[in-house]
């Protein structure tokens, strides 16, 4: 307790050369994670980064912590084993839209359902990068890629409603162009007890460049996104004069000062309210700006690994520690002289 470790960013930088494409959004995410970790007051050796396969999944090699680069889609399963076996570790799952939502979709929903106390960072660039540019489960319909020359006909996943449907107890969204916000979200995710899911809009400069451009460039971003904060009214727009209200059980975009609307009429974000979280998760369907920030943060839900260890402790408290000899000689035995 006494020794609060103090770290600099370089303490979390491994000796391996980073091999993402120049201009890749992953660099900014890596840097933000490394910076966020310096401020958590947690010992370096207690961090474990676990990834699947894909560009984002090279991440653990670049972190000077414990780490596993696993197989495609399975990071949540390995992470579940790491955390269940040793709850004292801070476990981070690094995944992408292909790794997490396609081949690893099953593990993703189940780790979230169990609510292990782990952090999931999903780099969403809406494309397969490492296999050189096929459409992913988050690609928009119509996207022309090598495997969809006439345009993708797949309906994309919306990660937020999917994950909330799987009972995610924490959901945040951030952008690779906003390092300060990323660090805030990573810190929030670390502090949340339970599975924390952070979706990061990440740009693939080679195969899907500028896919999130409308949410990131100065000219449009204030009108296309809304930064939600707990307890704050939902205001956005360049002039900070637009907002979201609830009318007839539907959200609606309004302009403050028009039709008698005042700031007091706006919906106030309550990140513990699953109704609001789901409303924000479906922003696209309601024609709302894309929300970023903490969409949902459930209050104190039990974590899987705590349950595992408390059951064990309860049995040992009641029966005492197991004794193999006693077990062997328990029940019916016969002795032959």
């Amino acid at each position: 307790m006494s020794e609060q470790p103090t770290y600099k960013k370089k303490d979390f930088v491994s000796d391996q050369e980073v091999r993402w494409c120049p201009g890749c959004g992953d660099y900014a995410i890596l840097s933000s994670v490394q910076l966020a970790l310096t401020k958590l007051g947690r010992k370096k050796e207690e961090f474990v980064f676990v990834s699947g396969i894909g560009c984002s999944s090279r991440f653990p090699y670049y972190m000077n912590t414990y780490g596993l680069h696993t197989i495609h889609g399975r990071a949540p399963a390995l992470a579940s084993g790491i955390k269940t076996q040793n709850p004292d570790l801070s476990v981070w799952i690094i995944t992408g839209d292909g790794d997490g939502l396609s081949i690893g979709g099953n593990h993703l929903i189940h780790v979230v359902r169990r609510n292990l106390d782990v952090n999931i960072l999903l780099f969403n660039n809406e494309i397969y990068g490492l296999t050189k540019g096929q459409y992913s489960p988050t690609s928009n319909q119509g996207l022309v890629t090598k495997s969809t020359p006439q345009g993708s006909i797949d309906r994309p996943f919306q990660p937020a409603p999917l994950l909330l449907g799987a009972r995610s107890s924490f959901y945040a969204r951030t952008l690779d162009t906003d390092p300060k916000h990323m660090q805030q979200m990573f810190t929030r995710s670390y502090n949340h007890k339970g599975t924390s899911f952070v979706e990061i809009f990440q740009n693939c400069v080679i195969f899907n460049d500028k896919i999130h451009e409308q949410f990131t460039n100065r000219a449009s971003r204030d009108d296309t996104t809304i930064r939600v904060e707990h307890g704050q009214p939902m205001i956005f727009g360049k002039e900070k004069n637009k907002g979201i209200i609830l009318k007839d059980v539907k959200p609606e975009v309004v302009t403050i000062g028009e039709n008698g609307v005042t700031e007091a009429d706006l919906l106030v974000h309550d990140e513990t309210n699953p109704f609001i979280a789901n409303l924000l998760a479906h922003a696209n369907d309601f024609g709302l700006p894309v929300p970023y920030g903490v969409l949902y943060c459930a209050k104190d839900e039990a974590c899987y690994e705590e349950g595992v260890h408390s059951q064990i402790n309860a049995v040992i408290d009641k029966k005492g520690k197991g004794d193999m000899k006693k077990l062997l000689f328990s029940g019916e035995t016969i002795t032959v002289d």
Partner: protein, 610 residues
């Protein structure tokens, strides 16, 4: 009264008739009375197939003896047929002159017609070779329970105890152990206790009243090696072997698993053992089962995953990952009839090739196989020891036959025989004067250090990409890749130094060497020993360590004129041996979802001896 040195009883009925329970009670009682025993449950994959159909027949065969018993036996001497379907399916197996106990209540015209038989079947030439005991088991049970406040259906459900009581009378069994079991099982439900006890006694008394027409036999206690014995099945023994390995090595046991027949009982058993700090994780699928275990191994657990053939197929990629990580992991495959979904409740040995080669790339893992139910304890312990000491995945092969079969187990001296497993766990202080290299190999075993997350200064990354020898960093260098393939292969070969040499049963040279592996041991050893007594020059090499093979295996093969390899597959070990040793071994193969009979092996061996 006749004294027998062994007898085989088969209980057969509908899958809802409680035959597994009757068989288990009979074998437990016999074990308590000092007999050696071996059991073989044989049940359909459906939980409740349509009543009265051949598909729904569930059987439980028990072989008890006043001598050493190695198998559940070839042909039953007593067959209990609770209905005509059980009669139809099982009669052909009954020994000539054996006893058929038929539940006449079920032999109605209607039931028989459904099975293309007629009302006179119990008087037909079909049953002439046997002694038939007619017993109105269902109606007599209901009659005996008429005073009890239970509905008719519940009364009928006690008929397995009535049948059991009759067998207890005929074979001079004590009824107390079963009475005790009934009281414990139905504690708090007095009517059910009374009902089952009454049914058991009624069956016993029925035997007594028809004494004239029913033979009674005595099977004295077996003269077996002194010690304390406990009746155990293979899956329980497997689970306990892992717990012992965890206790010995000081690592906590972690099982990641997905339910699958016939392996699920390992998950059930370990889930009960929380007092041993065992963690069980019922995963969302087979892949997550092994992946959670690999994660737990990284965290420092003795990590295992249990499954059967189809699950092995799904776990293949992750096994390759564990092999690349060089982390300890035991994968248990309780083999069942394949391919695909195959025969889930039947036994087979057809996953050996899969264990050897079922992964992409050059991906060697260690393979061991248990030979009988109680041996599962030893081989689970050994699989763990090898995984931990050599830092590698180990596949433990058992099968449905030994997993569900039970036998008395001479309880081992844990302090003497199961007390040392070393791990390669390293601490931060170990590297004060040298650099930590994640893939620095122990010169003798090629095992790498096991540095657990949480240890300061030993932070490292593992991955499935090829790694540089020593450091473990990513390397695409062609020569390094080849060198690493050799290192991983040699690591498995070096295990030969820590596994026992093969011991032959019989002379170390001769006409025929039988090479078997895994769960066929009981039948094979009996067949070989029978021929040895006849003066034949035949010996047995039974393998429990399969990859690597014991050091002296190849040289042993050279001392025999012929090599025969009986397997419950179309020829897997035999092909591996011929590829590896060019030894011209011949396969004796059976793929019926059933174990070998001793008689069929004797015949097959004899053919080659003459």
């Amino acid at each position: 009264m006749q004294e027998l040195d062994s007898v085989i009883v088969r209980f057969a009925g509908d899958s809802g008739d409680g035959m597994q329970l009757a068989g288990t009670q009979f074998s437990n009682t016999s074990a308590i009375m000092g007999n050696d025993i071996s059991t073989f449950p044989d049940f359909p994959a459906e939980i409740r197939a349509p009543r009265g159909t051949e598909a729904g027949v569930s059987g439980f065969q028990v072989h008890i003896g006043a001598k050493e018993i190695h198998t559940p036996g070839d042909a039953p001497y007593i067959l209990v047929a609770m209905n005509p379907a059980a009669f139809k399916v099982n009669l052909k197996d009954l020994e000539q002159g054996g006893i058929l106990i038929a539940n006449t209540d079920e032999f109605t015209d209607k039931n028989l017609e459904k099975l293309d038989m007629t009302g006179t079947v119990l008087d037909s030439p079909m049953v002439e070779p046997y002694k038939v005991v007619r017993a109105a088991i269902t109606s007599q049970t209901v009659e005996a329970l008429k005073e009890l406040d239970l509905d008719n259906k519940s009364k009928e459900r006690c008929k397995n105890f009535y049948a059991l009581g009759l067998i207890y009378y005929m074979l001079h069994r004590e009824i107390d152990p079963t009475l005790k079991w009934i009281r414990e099982k139905f504690a708090g439900k007095d009517t059910l206790i009374q009902a089952n006890e009454t049914a058991l006694k009624a069956g016993f008394n029925f035997g007594d009243t028809i004494e004239e027409s029913v033979s009674r036999f005595k099977i004295p206690a077996a003269k077996i090696q002194p010690g304390t014995y406990k009746q155990i099945n293979g899956n329980t023994a497997t689970a306990w072997g892992f717990i012992q390995a965890a206790q010995t090595s000081g690592r906590e046991l972690f099982l990641g698993s997905y339910p699958i027949t016939p392996a699920s009982d390992i998950l059930h058993e370990l889930s009960k053992r929380k007092d041993f700090n065992v963690k069980t994780f019922q995963a969302e699928d087979e892949i997550a089962g092994i992946c959670t275990s690999i994660g737990a191994a990284f965290s420092g657990a003795l990590a295992i995953t249990s499954t059967s053939g189809p699950g092995m197929a799904l776990k293949g990629e992750a096994m390759g990952l564990a092999m690349m990580y060089e982390l300890p992991l035991v994968i248990i495959n309780v083999q069942r009839g394949g391919p695909s979904t195959g025969l889930p409740t039947k036994t087979e040995q057809s996953d050996l090739m899969q264990a050897f080669y079922g992964r992409n790339g050059e991906s060697p893992v260690a393979i061991v196989a248990a030979s009988r139910p109680a041996d599962c304890f030893h081989m689970a312990y050994e699989a763990s020891r090898l995984a931990l000491e050599h830092m590698t995945p180990v596949i433990l092969l058992t099968d449905g036959y030994i997993a569900n079969g039970a036998e008395p187990w001479r309880l081992p001296d844990l302090d003497k025989d199961y007390s040392t497993i070393n791990t390669t766990v390293v601490k931060d202080g170990d590297y004060n004067d040298k650099e930590f290299l994640a893939y620095e190999r122990n010169a003798e075993t090629y095992a790498r250090p096991w540095a657990l997350p949480g240890t300061p200064g030993l932070e490292h990354r593992l991955g499935g990409l090829e790694k540089k020898s020593g450091t473990g960093n990513i390397s695409y260098d062609p020569a390094n890749h080849e060198a690493m393939c050799f290192e991983r292969r040699d690591k498995i070969l070096k295990m030969q130094n820590s596994i026992p040499e093969l011991e032959l049963e019989g002379e170390d040279s001769g006409d025929v060497l039988v090479v078997s592996w895994g769960g066929t041991y009981g039948a094979v050893t009996q067949a070989v020993s029978k021929l040895q007594k006849e003066g034949k020059k035949i010996s047995l090499a039974h393998l429990r360590y399969i990859n690597p093979f014991p050091k002296n295996f190849e040289s042993t093969l050279k001392n025999f004129k012929k090599i025969l390899v009986p397997e419950l597959n179309l020829g897997q070990l035999v092909n591996i041996m011929n590829a590896e040793f060019r030894c011209d071994a011949h396969g004796i193969n059976k793929v019926q979802g059933l174990p070998f009979k001793i008689s069929e092996l004797v015949e097959a061996f004899n053919k080659e001896l003459n």
